[in-house]
């Protein structure tokens, strides 16, 4: 026996793949025959016979390769065509073209599904990557989850369908085009959140990037775009730069990297206003300052009772605090010192607002860790500039401190803080919350068997799915090595359970590869809820307990705390 010879199963797998890749052509033929038939039903008996045969062979070969749904529809189409052939011309039902067109459409969508699900075999396997077998994220996403629209324009249909499928797994809404004109029209109709564009098209070596540049010229707006090209030469790359594309990928690009780049180009679009907390015992003064900052596009919260400061900090999560130095209950210095007692607020910029012009007094105030001093009466531009500058720095600094460097999710400390904040808010608004503790199953084995690079891919895949499939205001954090904490806002325990269980099912379908090896990974999760538990720590412990039970009862499952733990 020659071991290099493909086995029967391998041969069949290859033939199935060819069958799928030929499907579009076969359907095109059927469509052509249908057009002929429609043009002259009486004369085109030949076309009807051919159409019948096309359906028949689709059915037979479809069954032979195990594509039962497709074969079933082809069978219906075959039967219907047979009926048409059997009936005398004058008794042909008038709605026959619609019926056949409908069946053809059904076949086309089946073909689409097969193309998606079978494409994975085309991927080279040298580097770790992951893909989903079955895309339930094709369906409408969860309520509230942001589903960003991505247009892909590439004339290689195989590439496009594969890529769209992959990106859908990551929670994008994807539409694809194979011609730049078609793409242009779609952009004019509905502007996408981002674009993945090929460079070379049949009608021009840089037709793709030219199309992007042209859209920019016509609309005066830059589309966030990424180039994905088979070309890797100076001219192609320059054309991408000139079209304003931020990233350039050469084919074949790994879906995860592409998704990361897409996130980056899109995130520049969303600018969250700076959040400024003003503490001043005189509401009129606070309001005046607040007005100036709001004019400049900032989000301002005014507080006249210093006693409520801690609760407000937790809930409002300001980027900067503007403090009045002299207040009846306590001084600005005292308040700043109090804020600095909390490690999580050590980096929060505090700026004094005061009529104090004495340098010496200003200096002593700064010693408690205050960022700046603005004297009243303020000059509006100065206030805005001083606040914006510091808030911006705070943002960048915080981004480094609060995010886990591998997954980009919140780190342990931040997750805990955010959960406390959300809990305080839920109490006030009388909303329910669900706390999810989630842990990858047998993750150590993944690292041991497939290496740490593969392990990191698993972590990345999970965090990406969590981020894209949950709502932006839900809190998703990496709690420990392979442990994740999630807080879902304003959901009932049952809804939370269904949501997490769906994520669990989808995640278990992701196929990971490392070298020639392929593997799957699962997670278990435990869910507890507020107001069943009132404190963050209690919530976490309760969720952990049911998570432990999920692990003990066989892993790859979600358990809901029912108070009997």
């Amino acid at each position: 026996m020659n071991s290099n010879k493909p086995t029967l199963q391998e041969k069949i797998a290859r033939l199935r793949a060819s069958f799928i890749s030929q499907l579009p052509k076969r359907l095109e033929e059927a469509q052509h025959q249908l057009i002929l038939l429609k043009a002259d039903p009486c004369m085109n008996r030949v076309a009807a016979v051919e159409l019948h045969r096309t359906f028949h062979s689709l059915k037979g070969t479809g069954y032979s390769f195990g594509f039962h749904e497709l074969a079933g529809i082809a069978g219906d189409a075959e039967d219907y065509t047979q009926q048409l052939l059997d009936l005398p011309d004058e008794r042909t039902p008038p709605q026959w073209p619609d019926r056949l067109i409908g069946l053809l459409q059904e076949l086309a969508s089946q073909a689409q599904i097969l193309v998606y699900t079978d494409m994975r075999k085309d991927q080279p396997l040298e580097t770790p990557f992951f893909e989903m077998n079955d895309s339930s994220s094709d369906k409408d996403s969860k309520p509230g989850a942001c589903n960003r629209l991505v247009y892909i324009c590439d004339d290689e249909i195989d590439q496009v369908t594969h890529l769209s499928y992959q990106l859908r797994c990551f929670g994008y809404q994807v539409e694809h085009f194979t011609e730049t004109q078609e793409f242009d029209r779609a952009v004019m109709k509905k502007r996408p959140d981002a674009v993945v564009m090929d460079v070379r098209f049949p009608h021009g070596g840089t037709a793709g990037t030219d199309a992007l540049a042209n859209i920019q010229k016509v609309t005066g707006q830059q589309l966030p775009a990424i180039v994905l090209s088979g070309r890797d030469d100076f001219e192609a790359r320059l054309s991408a730069v000139r079209a304003g594309c931020q990233s350039y990928f050469t084919k074949p690009a790994r879906p995860l990297e592409l998704a990361t780049a897409l996130d980056e180009v899109m995130e520049e679009e969303v600018f969250e206003p700076y959040r400024i907390l003003i503490v001043d015992d005189e509401p009129e003064v606070a309001q005046y300052h607040s007005l100036i900052l709001e004019e400049a596009g900032m989000l301002v919260h005014e507080l006249s009772q210093p006693a409520n400061l801690l609760a407000t900090l937790q809930e409002f999560r300001p980027d900067l605090v503007l403090l009045d130095v002299y207040m009846p209950d306590c001084t600005g210095q005292e308040l700043s010192a109090l804020i600095r007692q909390f490690p999580e607020y050590l980096s929060l910029p505090i700026v004094y607002l005061s009529s104090e012009t004495d340098r010496q007094k200003q200096f002593s105030a700064m010693q408690v860790g205050v960022e700046g001093f603005i004297t009243k009466p303020v000059i509006p531009e100065e206030l805005v500039a001083a606040v914006a500058l510091r808030a911006e720095r705070m943002r960048s600094l915080r981004a480094l401190m609060v995010r886990d460097s591998l997954t980009g999710l919140y780190n342990h400390t931040t997750t805990t803080e955010l959960i406390e904040g959300a809990l305080a808010q839920a109490k006030r608004k009388q909303e329910s919350l669900a706390m999810v503790m989630l842990d990858l199953d047998s993750f150590k084995e993944v690292n041991d068997n497939y290496g740490h690079v593969a392990g990191d891919q698993v972590l990345l895949a999970l965090s990406r799915i969590l981020r894209h499939r949950l709502r932006t205001n839900d809190i998703v954090g990496r709690y420990g090595g392979e442990e994740f904490a999630i807080l879902l806002k304003d959901v009932t325990p049952q809804v939370a359970f269904e949501l997490v269980d769906q994520l669990r099912e989808d995640f278990s379908k992701i196929r990971f590869s490392s070298g020639q090896q392929e593997f799957y990974c699962t997670f278990s999760a435990g869910i507890s809820s507020f107001p069943f538990y009132l404190r963050a720590e209690e919530l976490r412990i309760a969720a952990d307990k049911v998570l432990y039970r999920a692990k003990k009862e066989g892993r790859n499952q979600v358990k809901l705390d029912d108070g009997n733990e």
Partner: protein, 119 residues
Amino acid sequence: MQILVVDDDALAAEMIGAVLESEGYQPLLAESAIEGMEQLNANPDVGLVISDMNMPLINGIEFFRELREQGNQLPFILLTGDDPKQAQQQEAGLDACILKDFNLDTSLPGLVSEVLNKR
């Protein structure tokens, strides 16, 4: 042993060919009855014919009848996407008739040896 496989759907033919090959037979593929006839003339060692039923111009049963008319008595298995019983009724001389489905890799080899043993 050489086996002639006739199917107008090249992929289906290859699929059957692959199954036969894995059982140690040498499949010869043809896309139509006419091409099948030519193959038979060029390869006198063929010991069995497997043909699809629904093909343009000459269908499987017509092909079978044509062979018999010419005095060719090779065992003949008909493959069909429809109910195999119907075809069997239509042409009782067929050695076997089998439904095209995804179990061909397990069902076909047994049927082939059964047909060959009967002869």
